[in-house]
């Protein structure tokens, strides 16, 4: 019943105590705040940095080179652009250095729109990230996956970027993380920092256990026959909900795949489903020109063009310079539940 923010916190705690994480750091990541989304409250290795994304990335790289296990945060992915060159260097150092150095580092950052954050708290980063060869990139859509992917990211000896959907950060999972108390209020009492003075506060960590979601493994969250829906992160629950509605109201069922891992991606699962349904819809909230969903579409065309029974399609964010503050901008530029439902209906009903 944890939120994604709580799940990340517990995963980092597990990382500190079982997986050798030495440093969790970033802007406002340490006490007193513990992260703008509370995801790093109470962690023993968490510390605050200068307001300097280049320093954050560079220091993470240095720590990793010297045998530490850093998890750093870019406060919002909107500010990852300030340090894209170091993202590139971190991604290519091993290839460029012929495998001389591993770089076991994790960068986590909130991703996407949905918190009414105007232009600079609404960017999606996955399409940019998917271009960073040498990185692995994951994005959970729920707390349990956030826990499992964060542990995988820590265990993986390569740079891993964990994109956390901003809008879902406080969304509670229906499932429990191994070791998590069943009562969410108890969990909150144990690990959420109090309002007000926190100088004497210490979290009481539950004995959370090992639970890894392998990088590159998607999951089928709904099963069906009328089409394949590929999504991840913030729009994933919308896809599941739309599929449920169409199943209930019209008897059309869909394979809904939560990709979870942007790169590498689980082509196996995508491929099997496409072969089965012959109909494909790819949904994400990133802008639509040179979008990672277009890459997936290209793979579908490459390998399954002749297996498709109708035009495969994408439902993506509009190619505009930002998400506007007034909700009408977001509603009309980022896929909404209604858009997803309509797209699913079209997909299922277009004549073969």
């Amino acid at each position: 019943m944890a939120s994604i923010a709580q799940a990340v916190r517990m995963a980092l705690h597990y990382g500190e105590t079982h997986l050798g994480v030495t440093d969790v750091f970033g802007e406002d990541v340490g006490p007193p705040l513990g992260g703008v989304f509370t995801a790093t409250q109470g962690l023993k290795t968490a510390w605050n940095t200068p307001l300097d994304e280049r320093g954050i990335m560079g220091t993470a790289m240095g720590i990793a080179y010297a045998g530490g296990r850093p998890v750093c945060e870019i406060q919002f992915c909107d500010y990852a652009f300030n340090v894209l060159d170091l993202f590139k260097v971190a991604g290519n150092q091993r290839w460029a250095g012929a495998g001389t150095f591993a770089l076991p580092m994790v960068v986590m950052t909130p991703n996407g729109a949905g918190i009414r954050g105007s232009l600079y708290h609404s960017h999606s980063f996955e399409s940019w990230a998917s271009r960073l060869a040498g990185w692995k990139v994951v994005m959970p859509s729920n707390a349990l996956d956030a826990y499992g992917l964060m542990l995988a990211a820590i265990k993986d000896p390569n740079p891993v970027l964990v994109l956390l959907p901003k809008a879902l950060m406080r969304a509670k999972d229906t499932r429990l993380i191994p070791g998590e108390p069943a009562d969410p209020e108890e969990l909150s009492r144990m690990i959420d920092a109090p309002i007000g003075d926190r100088s004497n506060w210490e979290p009481q960590w539950p004995e959370v256990g090992d639970y890894t979601v392998n990088i590159g493994s998607a999951v089928l969250v709904r099963e069906g026959t009328a089409g394949t829906v590929i999504s991840y992160g913030r729009p994933l629950p919308l896809c599941a909900q739309a599929a449920d509605e169409l199943a209930r109201d019209h008897g059309r069922t869909f394979d809904v795949i939560d990709l979870r891992s942007i790169f590498p991606y689980d082509w196996d699962m995508l491929s099997k489903s496409v072969l089965k349904t012959g109909r494909v819809l790819i949904v994400n909230e990133d802008t639509e020109v040179t979008n990672f969903g277009e890459h997936l579409l290209r793979r579908v065309i490459d390998e399954h063009f002749y297996d498709l029974v109708t035009r495969p399609r994408t439902l993506l964010g509009k190619h505009i310079p930002g998400i506007g503050m007034n909700q009408n901008y977001e509603t009309n530029s980022v896929p909404q539940l209604g858009d997803v439902r309509a797209a699913l209906w079209d997909l299922a009903t277009e004549a073969a």
């Binding site: 705040l33 605050n48 105007s118 503050m325």
Partner: protein, 376 residues
Amino acid sequence: MPDANEDPPDLEDALLRRGTRTAAPSVIRSGRDSMTVELALTVFRQMLRTRALEERSIKMSKSGEAYFWIGGPGEEAFNVCLGLQVHKGRGPAYDYLHLHYRNAGILLAMGMPMIDHTRQLAMRKTDAHSWGRNFVGHYAIPDWNVVPVTSVIEVQYAMAPGTALVQKRHGLKNPNENEGISIVIGGEAGTAEGDFDSCMNWSTRPGRELPVLMLVTNNKFGISTDLDTVHTHRPIVDRAEPYGIRHEITDGNDPVAAWAAIDRAMRYCRRERKPFLLEALVSRLHGHSSSSGAQRNWNDLDPLAAFEQKLIDARAIDTPAVQALKDDAKAEADAAVVQTMTEPEPTREDVYTHTYAPSAVDSVYPLDYTGLPRAR
């Protein structure tokens, strides 16, 4: 903890305050600096207006009239003194302003109507700065050379040398229009970004120094992070030394000191056509933003209350007059909000507008962006 919009706990006392001097003064002093009473009252009134607008803004973010608030309560003294000294106009003969998100006081002092602020806060289509697209305080005013404010910390410092370069060149060609400077402002935490040094480096190329007035409002915090934990305990202005840039620290909570410091710095930039770094120590009276609750922080010194006391002590004003000014300011803010809330919001049709300026050499988007190109 009292609500952000309540009056401070010592209000009753304040209303009963009595000055100690007997004759009305002609100047208000602070250390070696002074200001005429007339000017002091102007500054005070603009500070009050700014505070009233900020408090009304916070209320909007809590009431649902708006959503996110960020602003400058605690910076009124410095911002108003700055705004009143700007050479306001359009083009390189006038000052360029590269602002950040706490600068309502500058613009109110320059003459911006309150409603220009509340329209943005309430995300109205009538918001001239952004059509309801950007956070509040993200102004853009071509008639006053206020280039668009962006949320990305510190990038304004990378741009200021560009406007200053055009200004310096313009002044050399037009000796009567040789006093325009580029004013750039940001918080102390942001000085950790590379753009801060870029600004100093690009403003001091030998023989090509640029009239950039670099301002840092040091409230000692970046969101929750205490500067003293992430930066050597030296003043930010020391950063100017390796570039040979003149610099000064001022008490940004004291309008008399701040006014004089800004005056000195501006004079230098205007006349010498060289950069100056001025650090102002300021308060942060409502935390970082509405994201951190925007509760009133009663520990920091309130520059407005302090100046009020000073003016009363000096018999430059009395409490009924203060109260009248406060009432006026509140009424002005309320009226702006009332009007704002009647105005339309942007719609689906507004999504693409203003992506591109019209172009005679673009076959696809000659006027503005219209979505992905489709076959015609």
